[in-house]
């Protein structure tokens, strides 16, 4: 506008000003002139609205940063006042968020009061077009009867070999990653007692590959460092993620590193995103080619000798000798069985000496030592190959190499922030593995400011992973027994308790029997005895993994009858929504437990092109049970840095909504009654289940949290002096070191042991004292054992002296390891004893070569996405996509080709929204109201599309329609001498919304997942585009 551009004006009045002032003025000024306007002036026009409200502390329910909240409710707590939350803002004491909240956190008020909140139990009868309100009593009775009927008819007692398997696979259950640990653990107990193994949590569609990749390299599958620690980095790479948008408040510590340390930040991504907007450099990349880029970095580091040798030689398996027979040729590792589409991994292993210890060559000259194999494997990944396959400009790639390479110095540290941009590929786990290897080569693991930082998605997805709410898991990363590998307890313990592979190593998993027996005592209490193998036969045994893709496939084949969905929106989250919808339509009953209305709960409603179904044809009975949200409950959730943070209830839930714990409690008690009264198949695990809660229908968060910690069932003697008692019978355990394998302790999740001790609830601690480098060990409680930076022994050299004096976290003080963090190590093991930092690995070191831990190779290799824009793999044209991928026949038939669908699509979140919930949040609907796709300028021009046009994006599996955001930020790339256009597709829309109605984005991606974890390939698939 002209007024604002006029510089140094003389009395120059343009037409606009003239019109405005004369037209707007005349009528109304007169009011003041005649003295009708009020005249009293007030300082602060609006009075402060919180003066006598009640303040309650909570934790944000969305992402895994775990920001602290202050919730303000009407009323001062008086009995006669009904609390109503009127405002939420950040908790300034919180060490990570320090008062900040992202747009989603800032809009939480509108989530709590969303018009989409469910208030009463409802049922949609078979073939009906509408909901019907029912009582809780009717809801629980009907659901329990459905479950019992299906279980009695279909539970498998024994397999063909006569092994008791107690497996019920005709009803599946999804669990909620925004629910508390306490809800998670009671759900675990409930499900396994019934024999449910067709179960999954959002981790499956999210960070499953992280757990595989990091555990197979370092020993634990979690973010290595903490949010605040990012500030200690000299170099920050954001790749396979978009930290500024998905974790804005955690990302503040990257900005802090830039401001305070002068750190450099580089973003590698298919899109110039909001993280790139504050980066020092942006490097574009073709979606699905990350291993080429990262493999190229390994090659560059080796070629330029940017290796922190002292670290690598001492703390990795670089010198280990690998068995004869291991090899890699033309895209295939040794042991491939083309018929089964699987590898026999026997040859991917260490050569052992007579004592079962790893043979090593400290000179690294042996042709079969890891170093030589690594060099050879990545020699093919030259900068030219990288640029040709990724489309990244070579100079951009080399900049990343250079900056990372600088951190090979002991006093320079770099970090990586990644998320689903790496996990959601058929090569998801291997993407992350490659970076984990880079960080080992650079000596950046265990270091403040370093690590491989997996930025988890949901607020408690870390917790749900920890609690084993996945098909084949048990709490604390124990394995649910497999019918073939673990037919009995002795075999199970023998198979799952690793033997030390190098002298003097801690090999912490050697304690597996203590963890497992204590878990069984939690499940079945007094009924779990040595005589009955602690109830081993009651645990369900799996035949195959029932991940979400498998579950949907079975439903689609008509082999499932029931589906219980706790805080999950599978219709919107699972790939190939059309298939998912068809699968749901074949169910007998579906039970939704959720605070808000989801598309899943109304999959039977017709919503035009977005959900073109006929309700009359769908015979599924759907129950919808309203649950509380975070603000209406006590409990703990685990953030990405493994902090268990306790939160408090600030108000009553709306209508008749109940907590998840109460819903599960009521359902369990109803089922148990049916089995008691009427009998039924395999009733023992249900009737014998330990359910000693004060109110069996409503176990409290406190009761459950104490069970997570564990308690002594008998006096625990001190092993150093048997005359003394370490823990008295009935007391809470001080930590997992006191767990026993003789049935004298019960503990629901061994890694959480220490969270609620005799001293009380450690998760509610609020001492934010900085003990150095931003460490706040007095705030909340972190697993394991309140350690904040994993593998922190590796921050010191072999002699126990910090690699970098300015980054001293812990050190050997002559007697013990001590410092600002809890040592992730045996505290009294002197450096000379030779124990190594990766205490969960039986070899004690980090794995550059991950032996047989992953199904698709001990070294990461580039494979094209299942839908490749090239139609070939220039690295090995005979093996285009991953040979170890599991894909169902019906899904393979739904794959498209690059001739039909020429453009690469990638899906993602926007910072204004969280998955599919926040479209029910008005403030966020205002901030980002309508579905859109992002298209580069060149492609838009080709297709005659301009800003704001409606476009149709289609894949082999369906289509969506959305607005076009035409942008410079997605440039066309040249890959393998052809032009590749990429299309960005945010995923937040649907029909249960206060925003503009939209289509389910996940109609588009294929139902195929990461080889190791089956996390779907949402991040790279093929589409076509046209103007709508």
């Amino acid at each position: 506008m002209n007024t604002r551009k006029t510089s140094a004006p003389a009395l120059k009045v343009n037409r606009r000003q003239f019109f405005k002032i004369s037209a707007a003025g005349l009528g109304s000024t007169s009011l003041a002139v005649v003295g009708l306007a009020p005249t009293d002036a007030r300082a602060e026009v609006r009075q402060y609205k919180l003066t006598r409200t009640r303040e309650t502390r909570n934790t944000c329910t969305y992402c895994s940063v775990g920001c602290g909240l202050l919730m303000y409710s009407l009323g001062d707590g008086a009995k006669n006042a009904k609390a109503e939350i009127i405002h939420i803002e950040g908790d300034p004491d919180h060490p990570v968020s320090r008062g900040a909240l992202c747009p989603k956190g800032a809009a939480l008020l509108d989530f709590i009061h969303s018009p989409g909140r469910l208030k009463y139990p409802e049922v949609r009868e078979a073939g009906s077009k509408e909901w019907k309100r029912i009582s809780w009593h009717e809801a629980i009775e009907r659901v329990a009867r459905h479950m019992k009927a299906d279980r009695d008819a279909n539970i498998i007692d024994k397999n063909a070999d006569g092994v008791p398997v107690n497996r019920w696979v005709s009803t599946a259950m999804l669990t909620a990653s925004a629910s508390s640990n306490e809800t998670g653990i009671i759900t675990q107990k409930f499900m396994r007692s019934l024999g449910i193994i067709a179960t999954d949590a959002q981790a499956r569609v999210c960070h499953g590959p992280t757990v595989s990749a990091l555990a197979s390299t370092f020993g634990r599958g979690a973010m290595t460092n903490s949010w605040v620690d990012i500030k200690n980095a000299d170099f920050i790479l954001v790749m396979g993620g978009n930290a500024a948008e998905a974790h804005p408040v955690g990302f503040r510590w990257a900005i802090e590193a830039k401001k305070q340390r002068g750190a450099k930040l580089i973003v590698v991504d298919p899109r110039f995103n909001r993280t790139a907007s504050v980066a020092d450099q942006y490097v574009p990349i073709r979606a699905g080619s990350d291993i080429v880029f990262l493999g190229g970095i390994i090659n560059w580091l080796i070629a330029n000798d940017k290796i922190q040798w002292d670290y690598v030689k001492a703390f990795t398996n670089v010198g280990a000798i690998i068995q004869e027979g291991y090899g890699f040729e033309e895209g295939l590792f040794s042991g491939y069985d083309a018929e089964k589409g699987k590898y026999d991994r026997a040859s991917w292993n260490y050569e052992l000496d007579g004592k079962g210890q790893i043979k090593t060559d400290p000179t690294l000259a042996h042709p079969r030592c890891v170093w030589q194999l690594l060099k050879q494997h990545y020699a093919r990944y030259t900068p030219e190959v990288v640029s040709n396959l990724t489309g990244s400009p070579q100079e951009g790639f080399l900049q990343v190499c250079k900056h990372l390479g600088e951190t090979a110095a002991p006093d320079k540290v770099g970090t990586i922030l990644y998320a689903l941009g790496w996990t959601q590929h058929t090569t998801g786990a291997q993407n992350i593995r490659t970076m984990a290897m880079i960080q080992l080569l650079l000596g950046n693991i265990g270091m403040p400011g370093g690590g491989v930082n997996a930025l988890r998605g949901h607020s408690n997805i870390q917790g749900l992973s920890d609690l084993g709410l996945l098909s084949t898991s048990l709490p604390g990363y124990l394995t649910l027994p497999n019918e073939k590998a673990h037919p009995d307890l002795a075999t199970y313990l023998a198979q799952t308790t690793p033997k030390t592979l190098a002298e003097g190593q801690l090999n912490y998993w050697s304690n597996t029997p203590k963890f497992f027996v204590s878990l069984m005592k939690w499940f079945w209490g007094d009924k779990a005895t040595r005589e009955n193998n602690w109830g081993y036969d009651w645990l369900p045994k799996w035949d195959k993994m029932y991940d979400v893709l498998q579950i949907v496939e079975l439903m689609h084949q008509g082999k499932m009858n029931g589906f219980i969905v706790q805080g999950f929106n599978p219709l919107a989250s699972f790939p190939d929504a059309n298939k998912v919808s068809a699968a749901f339509s074949k169910l007998k009953y579906m039970v939704i437990i959720d605070p808000i209305a989801t598309e899943t709960s109304t999959f039977w409603q017709n919503h035009g092109e977005a959900n073109n179904v006929d309700p009359a044809q769908i015979q599924t009975e759907v129950f919808r049970l309203p649950s509380t949200c975070f603000a209406e409950e006590d409990g703990a959730i685990v953030n990405s840095s493994r902090w268990l943070q306790w939160h408090f209830k600030g108000a009553e839930p709306p209508g008749e909504a109940k907590s998840d714990q109460e819903i599960i409690g009521e359902l369990f008690v109803a089922l148990r009654e049916l089995y008691r009264k009427d009998g039924g198949k395999l009733a023992d695990p249900i009737l014998n289940l330990s359910w000693a809660y004060r109110d069996p229908k409503n176990p409290t968060p406190e009761e459950l949290a104490k069970e997570l910690n564990g308690r002594a069932l008998a006096d625990i003697p001190d092993p150093a002096d048997k005359t003394k008692v370490l823990v008295k019978k009935g007391e809470q355990l001080p930590g997992f070191a006191t767990l026993q394998d003789d049935g004298s302790t019960a503990c629901a999740c061994w890694i959480f042991s220490g969270c609620w001790t005799q001293a009380g609830n450690q998760m509610a601690r609020r001492d934010n004292t900085d003990t150095g480098l931003g460490n706040t060990p007095g705030w909340a409680w972190a697993w394991p054992a309140n350690r904040r930076i994993l593998y922190n022994r590796a921050s010191c050299d072999v002699a126990g002296k910090p690699w970098d004096a300015s980054r001293k976290l812990i050190a050997w003080n002559g007697e013990r390891w001590a410092g600002g963090d809890v040592p992730d190590f045996k505290v009294d093991s002197a450096p000379a004893a030779g124990m190594n930092p990766f205490i969960m690995n039986p070899e004690g070191v980090g794995r550059l070569f991950c032996v047989d831990k992953l199904v698709d190779g001990p070294f990461p290799e580039h494979y094209e996405p299942m839908e490749s824009p090239l139609g070939t793999n220039p690295m090995h044209p005979k093996v285009v996509s991953s040979p170890a991928v599991r894909i169902f026949k019906s899904d393979r038939e739904r794959l498209g080709t690059h001739t039909e669908f020429p453009f690469v699509a990638t899906t993602y979140r926007l910072t204004e929204h969280f998955q599919f919930w926040t479209k029910s949040v008005r403030l966020l609907a205002i901030a980002q109201p309508e579905q859109f796709v992002e298209i580069g300028e060149a492609l838009a021009k080709d297709k005659g599309i301009v800003q704001g046009d409606w476009v149709k994006v289609s894949s082999k599996r369906g289509f969506i329609k959305a607005r076009a955001v035409v942008t410079k930020r997605i440039a066309a790339l040249t890959v393998n001498k052809q032009t590749v256009h990429q299309i960005g597709i945010p995923l937040h829309w649907g029909w249960e919304t206060v925003a503009k109605k939209g289509y389910l984005t996940n109609t588009l991606p294929p139902a195929v997942g990461d080889c190791n974890t089956q996390t779907p390939e949402y991040k790279a698939f093929l589409v076509n585009l046209e103007k709508a």
């Binding site: 002139v33 009020p38 002036a41 300082a43 609006r46 402060y48 790139a276 109201p929 607005r963």
Partner: protein, 300 residues
């Protein structure tokens, strides 16, 4: 009402002098555009704290939503894609009231006490005294105030005067995830800005600088820009804003004359106001002027 919590420096259309004795600290909000990720947390926190909700709009092909300031949206993020020195940049500016030291809105306002400037620098609209004339809109060199369609009163960012009065920072400042928005004494904010500018210069932004335009006496909302030499890049942030000449004219000698003249038509106008509400520039006229302005721009 609390008359003491914030000291008043100036009131619109008031000749009675304000109190002069107390000397509170001058405050400022610093928006570091170079560390802003455009997440809109400030937008949301502003609306949440102030209990306002704009309409759910549409996607118009860019990330900007709401697409403009309104009586229910007191701050909005404006996104611009540009190429500077051969490098793609996505410039994101939080737009809203600048809290000018020499506020054009207050100078233009004819209604006593509808616009107040506190001694700490905050310029606040007091809707109960607002007559909806729209002079503040004309008087603002940053095009910030908006007249509500619901009550025909002017609204804009208050710098959370209610929070500041009790010793808290504004809602947008507190919530900002990356610390791109900071709050403190104006002096401190200038120092913070200087540190940022040094860092930016080291990172190759030779023209990084502080936006604290002197044409309006400086502002209590300041920006750190990577390209301080080209503020127009940031969704047309004016290079040298100043109080509209017409407002100066109005305050200088025209206002007394006009007041006399207006008194004559007062009753008629009052009748008009009461029955019809305030007059507005028609949309058509606005559009026509916009077109002309754009053409002129294009010609330059």
């Amino acid at each position: 009402m609390a008359l003491q919590s914030l000291d008043i420096l100036r009131r619109s259309a008031t000749t009675t002098p304000s109190t002069q004795v107390r000397e509170p600290i001058e405050v400022a909000k610093l928006i570091d555009v170079t560390t802003c990720i455009g997440c809109k947390a400030c937008q949301v926190a502003c609306s949440e704290w102030n209990d306002i909700r704009a309409d759910v709009g549409e996607c118009v092909g860019v990330y900007d939503n709401p697409t403009d300031l309104s009586a229910e949206a007191w701050t909005v993020m404006r996104f611009t894609e540009t190429e500077e020195n051969g490098k793609l940049e996505w410039l994101i500016r939080k737009d809203g009231c600048m809290h000018c030291a020499d506020p054009g809105c207050l100078k233009a306002c004819p209604s006593p006490g509808a616009i107040i400037q506190y001694k700490n620098g905050i310029v606040d609209f007091h809707q109960e005294n607002c007559i909806g004339c729209g002079y503040c809109v004309t008087g603002c060199p940053f095009n910030v105030p908006r007249i509500s369609k619901l009550d025909s009163k002017a609204y804009k960012c208050s710098l959370c005067s209610d929070r500041v009065a009790v010793g808290q920072e504004p809602a947008c400042v507190k919530t900002c995830p990356t610390g791109a928005i900071q709050f403190g004494s104006k002096e401190d904010m200038k120092e913070v800005a200087a540190t940022r500018i040094t860092d930016l210069k080291q990172r190759g932004f030779a023209n990084a600088g502080l936006y604290d335009p002197q044409g309006v006496g400086g502002t209590h909302v300041m920006y750190v820009l990577h390209h301080a030499d080209k503020p127009q890049l940031y969704s047309k942030l004016p290079k040298d804003p100043s109080v509209s000449p017409l407002v100066s004219l109005w305050k200088g000698f025209a206002k007394p004359l006009a007041t006399l003249a207006l008194a004559g038509v007062a009753l008629g106008s009052l009748f008009h106001y009461v029955t019809m509400g305030p007059n507005e520039v028609s949309k058509e006229t606005e559009d026509e002027i916009d077109r002309e302005d754009n053409e002129k721009e294009g010609a330059k």
